[in-house]
Symmetry: C2
Subunit: 397 residues, 2 copies
């Protein structure tokens, strides 16, 4: 597998565009991805019971068709918690996009992100659709889906399948309302491989638990989270079938892209100054490892301590203790960036100068050894800063 | 029932004291409550698997004895996550206090609160025990148990049982690491009623789910949480027996004290500027009502919105949607301080001037009607401010 420069339109047969349409004051806020031909599709959606209108419409269309040719996205307004009117607006967004592309509405997926509880400004949608083009500037798409994100999040990889180079690209937005029991942000992945929707869904579902579901910014699960993967077959490679070596390599490729985007989302969490990775070793099973890791990166007290560059091992141990799964609480080792702070659940002395240096780093790994089995798990989060509060206290105004 | 001025030593036969011993730099950090005679006792403890040494020692003693005569508390250092040495320190704290009072060690409960992961300074403990007195200034006890709290939390009530006036008093500390699956703070309740430990435990357990378990400050469950109730019988009233009218009145009295302390803890959450109460109406059962209420007051996004005085109904609906229990997501009404913001899960227009006024209030009630049954539930929390981050980023240094 090779990591490449590129964008969401790097795989064969895809194009994308993004621009300012008026959902936001100034920045890019509208974009699409279009495939030359209908593509296989797989999706995962928010586990929040309150599901935004664009997701409901998208799920329905994908279930009906098992294919997708375009994704249209706006940022600034989420069209969530908007009742029946919101559903009507979403159906219009789908229909108008289909009209412009001259394809069936069911081949169009929708995503909206931004303020919830407010109607979609349909004039901005009209403006956007009048300006957007096929074969536009695909880098602009990654801009168009952002809300409080401070940077675009893209990952492009290639892999040989027989003689054929398969390219896979992903873009994501995250920042706030990030606490998955599923996706909890938007991610779109394009690929030119020849693979069925069913096989694609299998590869996606396999990887969600260890990637997007293991990041947390603020513990809030959004109503609009969605991961969509499209594979249009334009590489014309031999079909990748489940239970084959090729499928495993394809799933690993997808895992790499998903994990890379997940970490980029965590690192760019609202107000974040540091990426925190919790690595749990020797857990009795993988679920325990993942739950413990996620509890640690999700703790407000751990997050604020790390913002304050304080190696507060007590808060880490406390977060392990309330994570849920049974652990041997008297036999836990904790290290921060390789420096031990607890052995067998007792504090150990460390060089405080060395620790001070470690705590200033932008990426911190907290390693937790549970001495209870062979399973491992990871989770990613960010520190909790003044800016998180600022961003969310002032977001609507 | 009458609400009184008073302190933890207002019930007959109790005394208390508090002073500066050296666990903290300057403020009161050491105190005790002593009963003239061994008292009936009931307790609830943290659900965190990592349990601090003083709690382990206290639980063990109470289980053995079913009686208690004294509670000794220090603030500043929590003696949590301190391994075997921490257990030895706790046993010494218990023994030394018993020696001073000339009672059996098992009649002494311990509580420690403050920084976790650090050893108890035993010199400070010696200093404290050399200075503390019986019949000291009981108001000082409420000071001595505080950490980042900005005010003491006390509640005193009296009630007639036959000809006898029973007095009940409670003090609590909270502020951070407040997210109960149990107590998640310290609360001590004294009472001069004649009631068995078993009956007292029944009354306490009945009320915990609707009071201390329904508050949240930051989602972190502490390792040191404990609620202890002592009833020494000094009123010499007829014994209050379970399944009687007197027992119900006693339990209601206890519920009042617990709810009052719980709200005071939520309102004084770290960095809080506002108390948020979520009232859920017409839920299908009480657990649903309580879980939905707690999800709303626990949402970082709701908390920051309210800090920003923004009536962000979308975030409230989203928090209902991920609370856990199934709800009819299309049929929810939400009002803030009586002003409707959503009807049947759709936004409703409101007078924005009136709303602006409402959002400036110090105490905000969010009313949520699920239109799904007859059950009700409440939860209390606070907004999330810059100061929460500041307090927790800098707490140890």
């Amino acid at each position: 597998m090779k990591i490449m420069e590129g964008n969401i339109a790097s795989p064969l047969g895809f194009s994308a565009d993004g621009l300012h349409a008026g959902f936001k004051k100034k920045k890019h806020d509208f974009g699409w991805i279009v495939s030359e031909v209908p593509a296989s599709v797989a999706g995962v959606y928010t586990t929040n019971q309150v599901i935004a209108a664009p997701l409901l419409v998208t799920k329905e269309s994908i279930q009906k068709n098992q294919q997708l040719q375009a994704v249209v996205v706006n940022s600034g307004v989420a069209n969530s918690c908007t009742g029946l009117e919101g559903m009507e607006d979403a159906y219009k967004m789908q229909q108008w996009t289909a009209d412009k592309l001259k394809i069936a509405p069911d081949l169009v997926a929708l995503a909206s992100t931004g303020v919830i509880g407010e109607r979609l400004p349909m004039e901005a949608l009209k403006t956007g659709l009048s300006k957007i083009v096929i074969n536009g500037n695909a880098d602009d798409f990654a801009q168009a889906i952002l809300t409080t994100d401070t940077c675009t999040k893209t990952c492009v990889v290639t892999e040989l399948f027989g003689q054929d180079v398969v390219t896979m690209a992903g873009v994501a937005k995250g920042s706030g309302m990030i606490h998955p029991n599923m996706a909890t942000m938007l991610a779109f992945i394009t690929c030119d491989a020849n693979i069925s929707s069913a096989a694609l869904q299998q590869a996606l579902s396999r990887n969600v638990e260890t990637t997007f579901n293991q990041i947390t910014v603020d513990g809030d699960t959004s109503t609009n989270d969605m991961v969509l993967v499209m594979a249009n077959g334009c590489t014309q490679n031999e079909e990748i079938l489940p239970d084959t070596e090729a499928f495993d390599r394809f799933a690993d490729m997808l895992q790499f892209v998903m994990a890379d985007l997940a970490k980029k989302i965590a690192k760019d969490g609202e107000g974040a100054t540091k990426l925190i990775e919790a690595r749990v070793l020797h857990a009795k099973d993988e679920l325990t490892a993942r739950m413990v890791a996620k509890s640690v990166v999700g703790s407000s007290l751990v997050k604020t301590a790390i913002f304050g560059e304080d190696p507060n091992w007590g808060r880490i141990l406390a977060a392990i203790g309330y994570a849920g799964p049974r652990v041997s609480v008297a036999n836990i080792d904790i290290a921060i960036e390789g420096l031990p702070v607890m052995k067998a659940s007792s504090p150990v002395s460390f060089d405080s100068e060395e620790m001070s240096e470690v705590m200033t780093r932008d990426d911190l790994v907290i390693e937790i050894d549970l001495h209870d089995g062979e399973a491992e798990g990871r989770a990613w989060g960010c520190d909790l800063s003044y800016d998180y509060v600022k961003i969310n206290a002032l977001y609507r105004t």
